[in-house]
């Protein structure tokens, strides 16, 4: 703690990298030049599903300025990538979706590379196409991958208690099918990579990956070189949101071209390519059956989902890890059963995306919370409060809620939005003549807030040095992806060492320098890297104070660091820089350098998906107010009132920004964004028809923080990166019901879909085949 002087915790601290970014000085991957670099382009399949009969690259190779044209035949040493290793970067004999990489070119300029692509001839023999999971699961359907006879890529089964017993005890049982749609990340910076080999065969990769240390291992295996010979530098990233957690084909392809040409190779997507060939949040059909007693006690929940996995398996297939947590543990439910089949189709494949399945699960669960409450005649808030988790609870799935501000989130959001009164008033207007209706809806979420033990380690390392001028260099494994982690880490270190923010530099983007970290995902960076940074800072502090105590001949307990000084009680003892120089230039020369590795006290889940996977859990409730024009189907989001259990606010400015951005992203998921995929083809690969929320549509946002001071968290904080996006669609769905009396089970709530639902017309297909 900053013993003397003011603490930085909870203040509005501007991001360290903001001044450069606001001056146009920050160099993103697109802006980097590697001298002598070639420019690469990828030829993608023009067939949804086909056998590749032959590829003729001769004409492309003859084009002046072309240095290499490669196909799978040129890289026999390539290896399958992705979560299930079912995916070769360059396809050999078969393409399974329109994005599939068939050949690649490296040339002097992008224009030449593009010209060369046009000269490559590929002969395909079309194969039957699986446009929907229904088709893929039908008996006799063609098989997309060896070893997956029924096209099921992965299954997940979880159970607690006995749902039959739960159902028998229920006074009300309801069942519905929910349909979730395709969306994609739309990072403003398109994907890109620069690969370069030195003459000795060591690889230098400029990459925007969120998991550099895992990538290193994967590329080393593929290239057959020692991982120590791979260095990954992460330039500032133009948005992540989970899109950069897996190895996607473009990175190995750039590496292949660099190795073959012996030149640096730069590969950048166009926006259209970004839409066509980056991962998605996938369509899910979710059947939910739930029940409760007359007094409002939840009895059971059964969930069956079919995930459209697309043609290959990436993280999207594993979203059930998170979905089942919401199903089993957001509210207290004694009996639960969960099943997911992730099914291969010829559609774009599914990756990880902020919220990781939780948006989908929460959408269904919170709709049923409304419906069950209504069925037993209970107030929507009271019903939720009755079933909400409390601190200290260990759920049947094994999650231990050491801190839990759920009930405070519920009551705070409800009070600040005047939820109960507005609900009633809106319902009273269902039948009046005005075609423009108002509604308010509420939804809550539970998400990991202290990392997630998905890999054997969920840890992060820190190296810290304090130099002769009391300037601190914090070297952390945790990458910055725009979320502001480096500022928070600097802040935590300053707090320990009693230094101003200007005294810290953060180094976080070079695997040759930074210590290991599992990667930026699962809202873990503040929590895990924060604890790691604090650990290193505390060691440095102990070292400094011990030396100071020895020099001054006072007990170390009386000393502290603050305002750039070593204090004894309330008196300035030494100016820190001067003291450190003294320590350094002495006959027992000493520098202050420390290391720390933090591994959270969470557990890997067992085979039954039980275990306390996170060191802390985050909670939130959001109330959304909407206006629905029943004559057009247009839903306007007027206001969001959010209450978030964040453990503790470390940087108010940063956390508000995360929550506001997440709210608007969740709003886009609910109201405007829709990747239209018809016959396995993306129909709207541009911002004109894939609609992100724009400034005039932004709702009023009211955010409250519930500070539960998590014992394990850095200064009491929990992770919040994903939380704000999660309950938006659920709350908006409940608000539309409150406005109109019509419940819509399929996303997105675009004007036409809403209009159809309100007027009883058949739903336009959210994805899959045209009607």
């Amino acid at each position: 703690m900053g013993d003397i002087g003011s603490s930085l915790i909870g203040k509005r601290i501007p991001k360290l990298d903001a001044p450069d970014k606001a001056s146009g000085k920050t160099r993103y991957i697109h802006d980097l030049e590697a001298p002598g670099a070639l420019h690469a382009k990828i030829l993608r399949s023009t067939e949804v599903h086909a056998r590749i009969v032959w590829i003729d690259t001769a004409a492309a190779k003859r084009l002046p300025g072309v240095h290499a044209v490669i196909t799978a035949a040129d890289v026999p040493w390539q290896r399958p990538i992705g979560v299930a290793k079912d995916h070769l970067p360059l396809k050999t004999d078969r393409v399974r979706s329109l994005r599939d990489e068939v050949a690649a070119v490296a040339a002097d300029t992008e224009e030449i590379a593009e010209e060369a692509l046009k000269l490559i001839k590929v002969h395909y023999e079309p194969l039957p196409v699986l446009t929907t999971t229904d088709e893929a699961l039908a008996p006799g359907a063609p098989q997309l991958h060896e070893g997956h006879a029924n096209n099921v890529a992965m299954t997940f089964d979880y159970a607690q208690g006995d749902v039959a017993q739960g159902e028998a005890q229920s006074d009300v049982v309801i069942e519905d099918v929910f349909r979730l749609h395709y969306v994609t990340h739309c990072c403003m910076g398109v994907s890109g990579v620069i690969a370069e080999f030195d003459p000795g065969g060591s690889l230098l990769l400029y990459s925007n990956t969120q998991v550099p240390f895992l990538h290193k291992r994967e590329f080393a295996e593929m290239l057959g070189i020692d991982p120590g010979r791979i260095r990954i530098i992460q330039p500032p990233i133009g948005g992540g949101f989970g899109s950069k957690l897996d190895v996607y084909p473009f990175e190995p392809i750039a590496i292949f071209l660099a190795r073959i040409t012996g030149r640096p190779v730069k590969l950048l997507f166009t926006r259209e390519e970004e839409f066509l060939a980056s991962p998605t949040r996938q369509p899910v059909v979710l059947k939910l059956r739930s029940g409760c007693k007359k007094d409002g006690t939840l009895t059971f929940r059964t969930v069956e989902t079919v995930h459209d996995n697309g043609a290959y398996t990436s993280w999207g297939a594993t979203t059930p890890f998170v979905m089942m947590q919401t199903v089993s543990s957001l509210y207290r439910v004694p009996h639960c059963k969960y099943h997911t089949a992730a099914v291969y189709t010829n559609n774009p494949y599914a990756g990880s995306f902020r919220g990781y399945g939780n948006l989908q699960a929460t959408f269904a669960v919170e709709a049923h919370m409304d419906k069950l409450a209504e069925a037993v005649g209970m107030d929507l808030l009271a019903f939720r409060l009755k079933n909400a988790q409390e601190p200290g609870e260990v759920t049947p799935q094994g999650m231990h809620f050491k801190t839990c501000g759920f009930k405070q989130c519920l009551t705070t959001a409800a009070e600040r939005s005047d939820f109960v009164a507005k609900q009633a008033a809106n319902r009273a207007r269902w039948r009046d003549a005005n075609p423009v209706k108002r509604g308010i809806g509420i939804a809550s979420m539970l998400h990991v807030g202290g990392g997630a033990k998905i890999y054997p380690s969920d840890g992060c390392g820190t190296i810290l040095k304090v130099d002769d001028f009391a300037h601190v260099t914090l070297i952390t494994g945790a990458s910055e992806i725009g979320q502001g982690s480096e500022t928070v880490l600097a802040q935590l270190v300053c707090e320990e060492l009693g230094l101003p923010l200007s005294a810290v530099s953060v180094v976080n983007n070079d695997t040759d320098i930074t210590p290991w970290d599992v990667g930026v995902h699962a809202s873990r960076t503040t929590f895990i890297a924060g604890n790691s940074a604090i650990g290193a800072a505390r060691k440095a502090k102990a070292k400094i104070l011990a030396a100071a105590a020895a020099k001054a001949g006072v007990p170390v307990e009386t000393l502290s660091l603050s305002q750039g000084f070593v204090f004894s009680e309330n008196k300035k003892l030494f100016e820190l820089g001067k003291f450190l120089r003294g320590l350094h230039f002495s006959d027992r020369a000493e520098l202050v350098m420390t290391t720390f590795y933090y591994e959270p006290p969470s557990k890997h889940q067992d085979k039954q998906f039980k275990g306390d996977v996170s060191a802390a859990y985050a909670w939130a409730t959001q109330a959304c107010e909407v206006e629905v024009d029943t004559l057009t189907g247009i839903v306007r989001l007027l206001k969001v009132t959010g209450a978030h259990d964040v453990g503790r606010v470390l940087n108010r400015l940063g956390i508000e920004g995360q929550i506001e951005g997440g709210m608007v992203m969740g709003m886009g998921y609910a109201l405007t964004e829709n990747l239209v995929v018809e016959n396995c083809t993306v129909k709207n690969p541009n911002f004109r028809d894939y609609k992100l929320v724009t400034a005039p549509e932004m709702p009023e946002m009211d955010i409250s923080f519930i500070e539960t001071m998590d014992g394990e968290g850095p200064q009491g904080a929990k992770g919040v990166g994903e939380a704000p996006a999660i309950c938006m669609a659920a709350a908006i769905a409940n608000a539309i019901y409150n406005a109109t009396g019509t419940r819509i089970y399929a996303l997105p709530f675009t004007p036409e879909n809403v209009y159809r639902a309100l007027h009883g017309a058949a739903q336009a297909p959210a994805w899959g085949k045209a009607a």
Binding site: A22, S23, M188, E660, G661, V693, A695
Partner: protein, 157 residues
């Protein structure tokens, strides 16, 4: 390839002479020919505003503007705006108000915001929102950007 044309224009206060292909966009010219990488590509179709620049005092999407059309005109990019008095005010306000996250949209927004402030001094929140409707931001949810522009505006008063 298209015919090359000689053009002359002022860029951030400095006269420039250049020969560019007739089909080239101003965005490409700025980034690839002149090495000014502050102006960003994020769509190339006028939908995102990341490439916003000032031409003769009005903002345009440089990805939609033919480079040959720069002839005889006065261009300002984010690098020029950042060096101006309004730009400095805006930069400080963007930083202090948390309007920057990944920062990829920020250069375009800085230029557009400077235009909003100069052309509509005293613009309220609603006008600012309309003023930046052509700039997409995926990270911030816009609230802090709007607050930052308002703060920069007030410093002016």
């Amino acid at each position: 390839m298209s015919a090359n044309c000689d053009i002359e224009f002022t860029l951030n206060g400095v006269k420039r002479q250049l020969s560019v292909p007739a089909g080239m966009s101003t965005l490409e010219m700025l980034r690839e020919r002149l090495g000014l990488r502050g102006t960003k590509y994020a769509c190339g179709e006028g939908e995102c505003g990341a490439c916003t620049i000032l031409v003769d005092g009005l903002t345009l999407n440089s990805c939609l503007m033919f480079a040959v059309d720069c002839d005889g005109r006065e261009l300002q990019t984010v690098e020029g705006v950042a060096a101006s008095e309004v730009g400095a005010r805006l930069r400080d306000a963007f930083v202090a108000n948390g309007a920057v996250q990944c920062g990829f949209c920020t250069p375009g927004l800085m230029v557009q915001a400077s235009h909003v402030i100069e052309h509509n001094p005293g613009a309220g929140a609603a006008e600012i929102r309309r003023g930046i409707e052509g700039n997409l931001c995926r990270c911030t949810g816009y609230k802090k950007i709007i607050e930052a522009i308002q703060a920069a505006e007030q410093k002016n008063g």
